[in-house]
């Protein structure tokens, strides 16, 4: 099922305010407000991947994984350890996963119980939704956990881009474009059972050519939003180009 849920950082200011904006660079900004916005964007893009990684790779129980997720991001903000990222060494998401593994390993070794909350305001995250994903994936090997971390990150990236496109269209004259995109490209339909252009034309009472034109526009805009967010989550232009090619098979130019 495609689901829409509002939670925490997604409700606040948009985490990707400008086309060339870089979350990674903004994490080291002198202005605390810029850092906070960047941090929200980072949490939005990665929290689910982090939580599920702790469940899959580190076999944490749900409550412990929730606490560790909160603690990981809290320490990232307080101790600025993400600022140690060197774009020439690795992709940012690889760096983040390594930081997470180091953090989880330390916690595991110390067998230290986390003090829930620790006096901080916990991030509002939809752990119940993430648990559904965990249950759906079943048993996961260590190697697969890495791939799933990547997939959850992609899911967050695409989800944010869908929301941005919806924000551009809903309630405006372009709403029909989003609705077409939603029916044609966002449904959870397997195989070839997606609606044909002819069926969409009938449903929306539009000429078929108009349907393809609207869809082409919506897909172009969706791609733009994805690339914009991807650029923001990468540490360098080279990383961005490599990620875009690996993820979408496109050269962002």
């Amino acid at each position: 099922m495609m689901a829409r849920a509002a939670h925490g950082p997604d409700d606040g200011p948009r985490g990707f305010p400008a086309t060339r904006y870089s979350v990674v660079a903004a994490l080291a900004d002198a202005d605390p407000e810029v850092r906070r916005v960047a941090f929200d964007a980072l949490v939005s893009a990665y929290w689910r991947a982090v939580y599920l990684h702790l469940r899959w790779r580190w076999h944490q129980l749900p409550q412990d994984a929730e606490d560790l997720t909160q603690e990981f991001f809290a320490r990232a903000l307080e101790r600025d350890f993400l600022q140690g990222y060197d774009a020439s060494q690795a992709r940012f998401r690889t760096f983040l996963r390594l930081c997470l593994d180091r953090f989880a390993g330390r916690m595991h070794r110390d067998a230290r119980r986390l003090k829930r909350g620790g006096g901080r305001e916990p991030l509002a995250l939809d752990f119940a939704g993430a648990e559904e994903r965990f249950a759906a994936a079943g048993q996961v090997s260590e190697a697969a956990a890495e791939e799933l971390f990547h997939r959850e990150w992609v899911r967050a990236l695409f989800g944010a881009a869908v929301d941005a496109l919806a924000g551009d269209c809903l309630g405006t004259a372009r709403e029909v474009r989003f609705r077409l995109f939603e029916q044609c490209d966002l449904g959870a339909v397997d195989g070839g059972a997606r609606p044909t252009y002819r069926e969409l034309a009938r449903t929306f009472d539009l000429p078929e050519t108009q349907v393809t034109n609207h869809l082409a526009w919506a897909r172009r805009e969706f791609r733009r939003h994805v690339l914009e967010r991807l650029r923001a989550l990468c540490g360098s232009d080279d990383e961005f180009r490599a990620e875009a090619r690996a993820l979408l098979g496109v050269d962002p130019g």
Binding site: R155, G159, D185, A188, R194, L247, V250, D251
Partner: protein
């Protein structure tokens, strides 16, 4: 935040990887296939209201020296007007700077799939068409260099198309004195592949091509590939004359092979007609057998007459 299910995620990745063609004319749809150099999409030509194939350079090769090859392939295809070569309709540059070209959408099956369910004689007749197409390209100074069953398509109406000219070599034009002339403005420039560069597919590359001896690659290198294809089509239990044709076509030394695709085709045609092939020195028994098959009716008539005559003489002598 919207949470996308796995099938939607996979679908969106496919949608996003579709090339962004400037203008409204071509609307790419699904990915049909991918090769070492390019990705091929089915696309809709909105102006003419037909389906076409759109070939785009693979994104990871966009910065590589191979980037020019796709544009070059489009020009080669445009230069080769032949029923056995897929026609190019259009070419251009994507929004991300990659080259693309638009060609006829070929519907049919790969040669090896076609051969799996057809009698050998039908497969050999298709092979003759392949040789004719390759021979035509050679006459234009173009060597394919990547002939293999997956690059040959047999259409539903029996049309045979040789595809994927991405690593084709354009030979320099040779003038009357034997020197190499520079190409005319706008003509295809001779191949610039550096010596030592190996381009092609293992199993279908002539020895000189596999060794990167670029200067030695000529029409006989394609003959070698055609011989390898023929061997696969004929199978392990190929008749001896046909096996000899394969052996000659794939001889290690270019000088020992057929000099051209046309020569190879002629020998295969001889085999189809039941005539002796040049590549095979027939034994006495094979020659007698072939002679018998050719003159079966008169031989039977003569033998019957002689047998009757003998019986008559025996009867008279009693």
């Amino acid at each position: 935040m919207t949470e996308l299910p796995d099938p939607a995620l996979a679908h969106l990745r496919r949608v996003l990887s579709a090339p962004e063609v400037p203008g409204d004319r071509y609307q790419p749809a699904e990915l049909l296939g991918e090769g070492g150099m390019g990705l091929i999409y089915r696309a809709e030509d909105r102006v003419l209201g037909r389906a076409v194939a759109l070939k785009v350079l693979r994104p990871e090769l966009a910065d590589a020296p191979l980037a020019d090859r796709l544009a070059r392939e489009a020009r080669i295809l445009a230069a080769l007007e032949h029923p056995g070569i897929v026609p190019v309709h259009d070419a251009g540059t994507l929004a991300d700077g990659r080259v693309y070209y638009v060609m006829k959408l070929v519907r049919g099956e790969r040669l090896d799939a076609f051969a799996a369910s057809r009698p050998l004689s039908a497969v050999l007749r298709v092979f003759l068409q392949v040789c004719e197409t390759v021979g035509f390209a050679h006459a234009q100074g173009i060597i394919h260099r990547d002939l293999k069953p997956s690059n040959i398509m047999v259409g539903s109406f029996g049309e045979v198309l040789v595809l994927d000219w991405g690593i084709a070599r354009v030979l320099g034009q040779v003038d009357a004195a034997g020197g190499t002339e520079p190409p005319a403005p706008g003509a295809l420039a001779p191949e610039q592949t550096a010596a030592g560069t190996v381009l092609g597919t293992p199993g279908f590359m002539a020895p000189e091509q596999a060794q990167g001896a670029v200067g030695q690659v000529d029409a006989r290198s394609d003959v070698w590939a055609l011989g390898a294809i023929l061997r696969g089509l004929a199978g392990a239990a190929a008749p001896r004359p046909l096996a000899s044709v394969c052996r000659r076509a794939t001889a290690p030394a270019p000088a020992d092979r057929y000099a051209s695709a046309a020569e190879l085709a002629a020998d295969v045609a001889r085999y189809l007609d039941g005539a002796p092939v040049l590549a095979h020195r027939a034994s006495l028994a094979e020659r007698l057998g072939r002679w018998y098959l050719k003159y079966q009716t008169p031989i039977i008539l003569v033998l019957s007459y002689l047998a009757m005559r003998l019986l008559f003489l025996l009867w008279r002598g009693r």
